[in-house]
């Protein structure tokens, strides 16, 4: 190319510099290509992972909670379909209008409406918000039929915990409820499933104790999401593992019966299998409705529960501590025999017992005359036990009480057990800083004073008497997730056969001999005879003035002042199989209030589980028959 002379300088410079620019461009493009190579080849694995993290989101799927069933497989707690209506706000042009139309089918109050609108404003537009839960089938059908007129409304079926027996089992099963901040804080490890909306965990009872087993393993669904979190499609799904079934030792028929029998009282009743410790029935009345706890109790209702003098939120069978009263006399009696006192030995009861300047009264004003151990139990003579207690001393009594399960907890599956109290001089010194008085030994002889026991402990005590002195412990779970819960091999308490035989005969006298304190509450059917012991635990101190002017009858006192009525028993007398305790708070007297209830329940138990006397049965009170069931 020829360039005219005048221009050649400029052209040469231009060409040189253009070449430089071209070179710069070339370098720039090499840099770009190199960067592409770095990102797309060298670092591609890292970025591919990041892209997957962006794209794939894991959604937890709540596992189906395991059922709780009774010993025969009857469902006590399960999951019920919960018909719901959800609202997806992006699918309706006008949320308010949809809600108004929806409320023509299912009433939405102002409070709920506000809650819905708040939920909608807080969640992305594609997220379903619950509008109404627990719809009846009719309502649900209506919502389905009218769906075209309700843009944005999506009918949905969820799962919710259901307790078909409601309050009858409330104190055993407990309940599930929404996860609280505290639950989250105390949960071990990271449990993301707890954060699922609507997830429920066990808060009380078996639901709490076996929460892990009942809960199961959450599944997961891998979904593809876009940058706004909207689910595009499901990539894979792991349904998780449903929770395990928990089989209780309860017999729901008997539980029901016992509940009906105690309804209206502030009371508890515990029925045990004396060989295995299986809880056949465990009632604490009154109770609450666990279904309502699940769905959220109303504030006013909950306040009423809290403030009721009958303490419906308390499991009285476990946590109610009462002076055992005369039901404690068997323990004193056995301690006496062990101390070398002949059961046939008689003590004269003039109606009162003097210790120094103080008089201790027998419940029978005129006295029982000369009574041996058998009579003393049968008539529940107080003076005999005052005297015996003083003779053998508090340590011997406390030792026997502990061997029969008082003053301790068993690690029962239902949480909330109380240990009660078996007082000793050492305890008094340590806790109260005071010296033990002999008068305290005397009243301990009739189960009063510092002594405290729970109905469960009284049932265990009775069972240990009835099974021949084996330290069974109560249990209420038979199987979890298909594998049987092993029964602990009970240790022999080491009590003499004579002692056992004596107190059991006395208990037989209570129920089956004319003049026994619970003779009116006997079971007449042959082979079903129960042997028991009444107890009337004083709630207040009776003053000297009062005693002189005549002790007020229980019926004349206000409810809170009345005595607790207790009864413990085992049956059948000839081949013991079941033991039970009944405590009716402020029920008046053991024989009048508790014994008839116990009798009816025990009768029901035996009717349903006839115990055939077998040739191989050991003599009562001695040894232990082969475990059944």
């Amino acid at each position: 190319m020829q360039i005219s002379g005048r221009d050649s300088n400029r052209y040469q410079t231009f060409t040189r510099r253009a070449a430089l620019l071209a070179g710069a461009q070339g370098v720039a493009f090499v840099v770009l290509a190199g960067r592409m190579y770095y990102l797309q080849v060298l670092k591609t694995d890292q970025y591919r992972m990041l892209a997957e993290e962006n794209r794939v989101s894991m959604r937890l799927l709540a596992p189906l909670r395991g059922n709780i069933v009774d010993r025969f497989g009857r469902i006590l707690a399960s999951n019920r379909q919960n018909y719901r209506a959800m609202l997806i706000s992006e699918q309706t042009p006008d949320v308010e209008a949809t809600l108004t139309r929806f409320s023509n089918i299912v009433e939405i109050d102002e409070y709920t409406r506000k809650r819905i609108l708040r939920d909608i404003s807080r969640s992305p537009r594609f997220m379903p918000v619950t509008v109404a839960e627990d719809l009846s089938w009719d309502e649900f059908a209506q919502v389905n039929i009218n769906e075209p007129d309700l843009p944005g409304i999506v009918p949905d079926v969820g799962e919710t915990r259901d307790y078909p027996y409601g309050e009858e089992l409330a104190h055993i099963l407990g309940y599930v409820a929404a996860v609280s901040e505290k639950d989250l804080a105390s949960a071990e490890g990271d449990q993301p499933v707890l954060k699922l909306p609507g997830f429920r965990i066990g808060k009380e009872g078996i639901e709490k104790t076996y929460d892990k087993e009942l809960r199961g393993v959450p599944g997961s669904s891998h979904v593809e999401v876009n940058a706004y979190g909207r689910v595009i499609r499901e990539l894979s799904k792991d349904p998780g593992t449903p929770g395990s079934e928990v089989v209780l030792t309860l017999d729901m028929d008997i539980q029901r019966f016992a509940w009906d029998r105690l309804k209206g009282e502030s009371a508890s009743a515990v029925v045990l299998d004396i060989h295995s410790g299986d809880v056949i029935s465990f009632v604490s009345a009154p109770a609450y409705d666990p279904n309502q706890f699940n769905m959220g109790y109303g504030t006013a209702e909950y306040k009423a529960l809290l403030e009721s003098p009958y303490l419906p939120l308390m499991n009285k069978g476990l946590a109610g501590m009462y002076p055992p009263g005369s039901t404690f006399k068997m323990v004193v009696g056995m301690a006496a025999v062990e101390a070398g006192i002949d059961p046939a030995n008689r003590v004269f009861c003039p109606g009162h017992y003097s210790l120094g300047s103080h008089d201790f009264h027998c419940w029978k004003k005129g006295g029982h005359g000369a009574v041996n151990l058998h009579d003393a139990i049968k008539h529940s003579c107080d003076v005999y036990f005052y005297d015996t207690a003083k003779r053998i001393g508090i340590e011997a009594i406390a030792d026997m009480a502990r061997r029969f399960g008082l003053g301790e907890t068993y690690g029962f599956e239902v949480p909330g057990e109380k240990a009660g109290l078996v007082p000793t001089p050492g305890w008094k010194r340590a806790v109260k800083g005071e010296v033990w008085h002999q008068g305290e030994t005397v009243i301990a002889g009739i189960g009063q004073g510092y002594l405290l026991a729970t109905p469960l402990q009284l049932a265990v005590m009775t069972a240990r008497i009835a099974n021949g002195g084996y330290a069974i412990e109560p249990r209420i779970t038979r199987a979890v997730g298909g594998s049987l819960v092993p029964v602990k091999e009970p240790k022999f308490i080491g009590v003499s056969e004579d002692a056992l035989r004596a107190v059991m005969a006395g208990m037989n006298g209570v129920s089956n001999e004319i003049g026994g304190t619970a003779y009116r509450s006997r079971i007449a059917e042959p082979g079903m005879e129960l042997a028991g012991k009444t107890g009337t635990a004083q709630v207040r101190r009776i003053s000297r003035a009062e005693r002189l002017s005549g002790v007020l009858k229980n019926e004349d006192l206000e409810w809170r002042q009345r005595d607790h009525a207790l009864f413990v028993c085992f049956a059948p007398y000839d081949a013991p199989r079941y033991a039970m305790s009944v405590v009716i708070e402020h029920g008046g007297s053991g024989s009048g209030a508790a014994a008839p209830v116990a009798r009816d329940i025990m009768h029901e138990v035996l009717k349903r589980n006839p115990v055939r006397p077998q040739a191989g049965n050991p003599p009562r009170g001695a040894g232990r028959p082969a475990r059944t069931g």
Binding site: F14, R35, N54
Partner: protein, 382 residues
Amino acid sequence: MLDLRRFTGHEMRLGEKLAEFNWGFLLLLTLIASMGFAMLYSVAEGSFSPWALRQAARFAAGVAIMISVAIIDLRLWMRLAYPLYGFALVLLIAVEIIGFVGMGAQRWLNLGFVSVQPSEIMKVTLILALARYFHGLTLEEVSRLRNLVIPLALVGAPVGLVVVQPDLGTAILLTATAAVLFFSAGLRWRYFILAGAAVLAAIPVVWSRLHDYQRNRVLTFLDPERDPLGAGYHILQSKIALGSGGIFGKGFMEGTQSQLNFLPEKHTDFIYTMLGEELGLVGGLVLLTLYFVVLMFSLNVALQCRNQFGRLLAIGVSMTFFFYVFINASMVMGLLPVVGVPMPLVSYGGTSMLSLMFAFGLLMSVHIHRNLEISRGPSAFW
């Protein structure tokens, strides 16, 4: 071999001009634009609307503009250089006044039937004006200080207006293009060294005057992890998209980052990222290669031209195009801060596409009229 002197001294007829038009080059541009159409089709989840079809229509209009501009005599463009520059400057001032009245940053001028971005027009007219000016100077005259007053004013006025808009990206682009023209015109090296030193010295001053969002962009560029959900999000997601594309990409319309909206602005500034994700390193390099061919062709046009105006015009257009490609690609790869510079011919956008095709029209006019010898003196003004 074509006789290069064939057209010297006589006026070309339309037929001759169309014959000299490099249709292969237009085909090259069409190929590049088509990659853009494909990506715009993919962005819309397999739909020609709303972007691909409109972009194709704009490209068609752009082709018409390019051909029209190309066949107009280069001497006419030389004559129009200053008036066009003046017109663009007036538009820039107008947009500034409207922006001031409207209390906010303003880059667009609404002419009723169409919205134009005066800064885009300025990019082309500044090249015209500077090429026109330096055409009139000998090599010795170029480096005389008094001769630099006018071209510096030509650059300073629009850059100043754009900076206050504020549109830092365009300001840098205008300055860089101008520097290339000064350089190609033969300005001595020492001026560039001095200017470079001045720029370095000015950085702290400029930094203190930057808007917060501009500072954020620079800071985020230097350390994207600084704010992965906010300002750093764009760069990070863009790198993830590119990197996860690998050598062969995830497949057309299969880019998860793009299709699931993790990638921002994917139909405009980040379209190259999307291409890299879906078509991989291979797709990305194909596009870069096409761009490089365009650049080499443009450079050749400049070198083949027998008049200084055409040379400077061609290299100006070429380098502007280069800056676009380089800045955009560097930005999406995390080599430069996020500045709003589109990928030429590929990103969705009307004004930039049309002004670019206008510029290519000028380039083609230089090519067609490469044998014109235009005198340096005032006679060139006819």
